[in-house]
């Protein structure tokens, strides 16, 4: 069993997109519990991939290809899960602030968060404050992730964090921010709970915010 799980883990790390589904099938046939396949095979692999990326050992497209491989494997296992053993590390609402159309970086962060076992709901780009507030009340996420790429939209990020706080929506929800012009200093200034400089940092931050 250990060996099969290890093969799955290695396949994700090494971006074996064509082989992963067969390997996951093998594991299922061998009677390995779906939860184990996910946690010790797929998610364990993405932890390694995140660390490789942080250490500059791999490049963005390689990280994405691993995340894609992971997703293919996950799609095979998911139908076998009962609702109580759906393993989610937490729900994260993601979006790019008003006036900003950029989403490449955010989408990479989404993939890595999903890869790490979070449930990600992506609201897209150019989010009005009203949309944001409504979705927060509907979904009650554990974490809100806000992205911006333009320096001119940074004030929107500040305003969003402010308003969400004023509405009392931060009691059960943390806010993390990111994007090229967003710095740790800026994140602190506007009162966000944390800042991730890249996708791997964002994942580590999300885990920390969940109290892991």
């Amino acid at each position: 069993m250990k060996e099969l799980l290890n093969t799955i883990k290695e396949a994700v790390i090494n971006r074996k997109r064509k082989e992963i589904e067969g390997l996951v099938d093998d594991a299922i046939e061998a009677g390995i519990e779906p939860g184990l396949i996910i946690n010790e095979g797929l998610i364990a692999a993405m932890d390694v991939v995140g660390a490789q990326f942080s250490a500059d050992d791999i490049f963005v497209p390689e990280m994405l290809a691993s995340a894609l491989t992971m997703k293919l494997g996950l799609a095979k296992v998911k139908p076998l899960l009962t609702s109580e053993d759906q393993p989610s590390r937490g729900t994260i609402l993601m979006g790019t602030v008003r006036g900003d159309m950029h989403d490449i970086g955010k989408n990479i962060v989404n993939m890595m968060l999903e890869g790490a076992g979070f449930t990600v709901v992506d609201l897209g780009v150019d989010l009005t404050l009203e949309q944001l507030l409504e979705e927060i009340e509907n979904l009650k996420p554990d974490i809100l992730g806000l992205s911006a790429l333009l320096t001119i939209t940074l004030p929107e990020m500040e305003r969003a964090v402010q308003e969400i706080g004023d509405k009392g929506l931060r009691k059960n929800m943390k806010i993390m921010v990111g994007g090229a012009p967003v710095s740790k200093t800026f994140a602190k200034e506007i009162g966000a709970d944390g800042h991730g400089a890249d996708a791997a940092e964002a994942v580590a931050l999300a885990k920390r915010l969940m109290g892991e």
Partner: protein
């Protein structure tokens, strides 16, 4: 080929630091080496200084105009900043940039008309950035229409189809290249332009991807670019592509650039 030199950008650490400390020598040097390397316009950007962009940009403009005689390319999405800078300029400038978003279009077009400025127009609207070639070409038509309605002739417009990283959007470069060709054909008289660094995000040896994309874009009809003219390999690839495409009679410009040691 119109070259807009990109090095004086506050997102570069060395530039931001010298602006903050008021070290005019660094900025002056950057302006001069780019002018010497073959720039037509010097791009100036102070976007990293949130809330004091205008004041910082004024200082940069003063230093650059003192150092070189080239026209400037005002790199700001903010109409107020552009409005504050235009009266200071000695030569008709370029504005970088407008989009179809009302706040980034309506206040800026009249300024461009008033100052006879060239304008970089991004294929981006309130609904997002154009992704497919069809979307890019459609937005190019709209941009030209809006500009001409405002009294800005299309010859002053440089449409940027936008290119995304090939690492994350594998067919984006292909879409941008197709758009360059179609815009040139469908809207005669309008210019095309492209930034080159986005395309290589996330991969090693980024400059190799950048200059390969530039060559491909020139082959499809690109006639202006925002780039670092002091990068001899990039500049060399550009000059070689222009020669190959028959836009450099008897390769005289290529040879001249070789003699001046501007290409590698």
């Amino acid at each position: 080929m119109l070259i807009i030199a990109e090095r004086i950008n506050s997102s570069r650490k060395a530039i931001a630091e010298s602006v903050l400390s008021g070290d005019a020598d660094v900025i002056r040097h950057e302006a001069k080496i780019q002018a010497h390397a073959g720039a037509d316009y010097i791009d100036v950007n102070a976007g990293a200084f949130i809330k004091e962009e205008l004041a910082r940009l004024k200082w940069i403009v003063e230093v650059v105009q003192d150092a070189v005689s080239l026209p400037l390319c005002i790199d700001s999405p903010d109409a107020k900043v552009i409005d504050g800078i235009l009266p200071l300029l000695e030569k008709p400038p370029m504005i970088n940039s407008i989009t179809l978003e009302p706040s980034r279009l309506e206040p800026i077009l009249p300024l461009a008309v008033k100052y006879k400025a060239k304008v970089i127009a991004l294929c981006q609207s309130s609904k997002g950035m154009a992704e497919t070639a069809d979307q890019k070409v459609r937005m190019a038509h709209e941009l030209v229409e809006k500009a001409e309605q405002a009294g800005l002739p299309r010859d002053l417009l440089h449409v940027d189809p936008l290119v995304y990283p090939v690492a994350t959007s594998p067919l984006s470069a292909v879409a941008a290249l197709e758009a360059i060709e179609r815009i040139k054909k469908e809207i005669p008289g309008v210019h095309t332009i492209c930034g080159l660094t986005n395309v290589s995000y996330g991969v090693p040896e980024r400059k190799l991807i950048n200059r390969t994309f530039l060559v491909a874009a020139i082959v499809r009809g690109l006639d202006s670019a925002i780039l670092d003219p002091t990068d001899k390999k990039l500049f060399g690839s550009m000059k070689a592509a222009l020669a190959v495409m028959g836009e450099d009679e008897y390769c005289l410009e290529f040879i001249e650039a070789y003699r001046a040691e501007r290409i590698a």
